[in-house]
Amino acid sequence: MSRAFTPKVVTANALLEGDAVWLTEDNRWSRDIREAELITDEAHGDLRLLEAQARADEIAGAYLADAKAGENGPEPTHFRETFRTRGPSNYAHGKQVELSDV
């Protein structure tokens, strides 16, 4: 029996800006985790990660992060990933500004 697989998203840092990006089902890198492909199958996750890692001229440091299905798309389950979706807590910098008017 295989162990339970918790859903994942493929995430990385954008090459030029360095900010967090997520891989969408149609192979874009989105700045918004809600657009990410929520992966529920382990083998598919491994494959998507390999595909992501091959795109070295767009991103750096791709990995699989735990996520869950939310009302508007995938949501992070760990606080580290939550911070990556919004930016630092000491200033309104990073995604919390960029995405506030989306």
């Binding site: 800006e17 360095g18 900010d19 967090a20 001229d57 580290r80 990556r84 630092p88 000491n90 910098h93």
Partner: protein, 556 residues
Amino acid sequence: MYKYNDFDEGFVRSRVAQFRGQVERRIDGSLTEDEFKPLRLMNGLYLQLHAYMLRVAVPYGTLNSGQMRQLAYIADKWDKGYGHFTTRQNIQYNWPKLADVPDMLSALADVEMHAIQTSGNTIRNVTADHFAGAAADEIEDPRAIAELLRQWSTDHPEFQFLPRKFKIAVTGATEDRAVTKAHDIGLRMVRNDAGEPGFEVIVGGGLGRTPMVGKVLREFLPKADLLPYCEAIVSVYNLLGRRDNKYKARIKITVHENGLEKIQALVEERFASIRETFSGHDQALLKDIEAAFAPPAYVEKSTDGYEAARLANPAFRSWTDTNLSAHKADGYAIVSISIKKHGATPGDATSDQMRVMADLAEKYGHNELRISHEQNVILPHVHKSDLAAVYAALREADLATANIGLVSDIIACPGMDYCALATARSIPIAQEIATRFDELKIEHDIGQLKIKISGCINACGHHHVGHIGILGLDRAGVENYQITLGGDGTQTTSIGERAGPGFSADEIVPAIERLVTGYLDLRTNADETFLQTYRRLGMAPFKAILYPAEDKANAA
């Protein structure tokens, strides 16, 4: 101050050009991230949680006004208008874009600065007493030695791929403001029986996963032997240091596993064999460097106005009580500018604030500034008659907080608000503690107390040597904060002891408040510091304060 010669200038410029090419090749896809990463790290460029981060060295913490203004310019042009001063006398920019970094490095080179060896397994930025050249208790200005070490270590072919990063700190004073015992090599200037200056050489100190207090390798090393001796230490480490396990690679482990005697014997042997290859060129160089660090032209002026201003203005008096230190020249003071306004991010200065500090240094401070390992900025030479004017200008720039050495003068690493390695946040905890004690208005009654916070076990925030140390951890997906007590980073270095189970993010600030107000009841009088009280009473009463319920349960 030291001025670049043609070699230095050419070297730094060629590194910028080289890196520009590497960035271009990364962007056009001809370099993979695996190929590029070591190259960017050699130039101080990290990839963090939300952006890249550029770490710029401020060698031995010394800057002039022009350099500080350039740091402000870089913050405005390529970052978000501020920079973060760190415990290793660096400045970090948190938001650069990859394509801009070569221009940033070029702008740094324009003012004789760089980011070389601010990362990687090399000898990092050499740090020094932030009161160097000014402190009343100083034997000699340690910066000439630090500069010599920098020139020797920069791009040293043998030491570019050490088992792990390597940090050297130097002090020329009796009071240790450079945390020498928590460095890979700590150098403390001392005099021998004949009155000649030399160094006590300490080795194998460090924080991080396995904190250790450095051990004395040589009680007295003549000044002239310094480079060959350091070269011998690093060579021995390069050979013996463990490359099989990153967590056991620092020289502290090498010393621990091999024993001090064996290291001592190997270093002396190596030293004997290389001593004569340092034919004296290094000493000629040192003479030139020492001349560059000649003391400024001090002036003689009355300090009557200063005394009058102190009497007339209690806020100014309070600031002079906490933020000034004794200077070696008559009529002068060392000014510590607090970059720890209550509720602000420790160590962050805006570009406007950097320019104000640069202007003040130029107008009143012989054009010199220092970055302290406690994340503050120092004006090392200010005449007392100018202090009221300096204070007024600082106040206007939100830089006049009178809290140096007090409970809100907290060292905090970037933690999980920026750092990719973090397990919890540090900055909000520091902000909340400072704000809380400001509201309680007891900060000055509490007196000298060092709180230091790190967001993971790497201990960048020096929590092990904080009187109160806070370590942020991830406990089952929730931020959790562990407290250590009794750490000390001065000449009486000690590593703090864990108090017990950690606290949640909601509980940590109240726990610190209980601890500190509890200390007020425990101290014998207002002169007994937190650390002294802890050393007198030990952990037990503080533990009882931190874990009251548990204490009752045990008593039942």
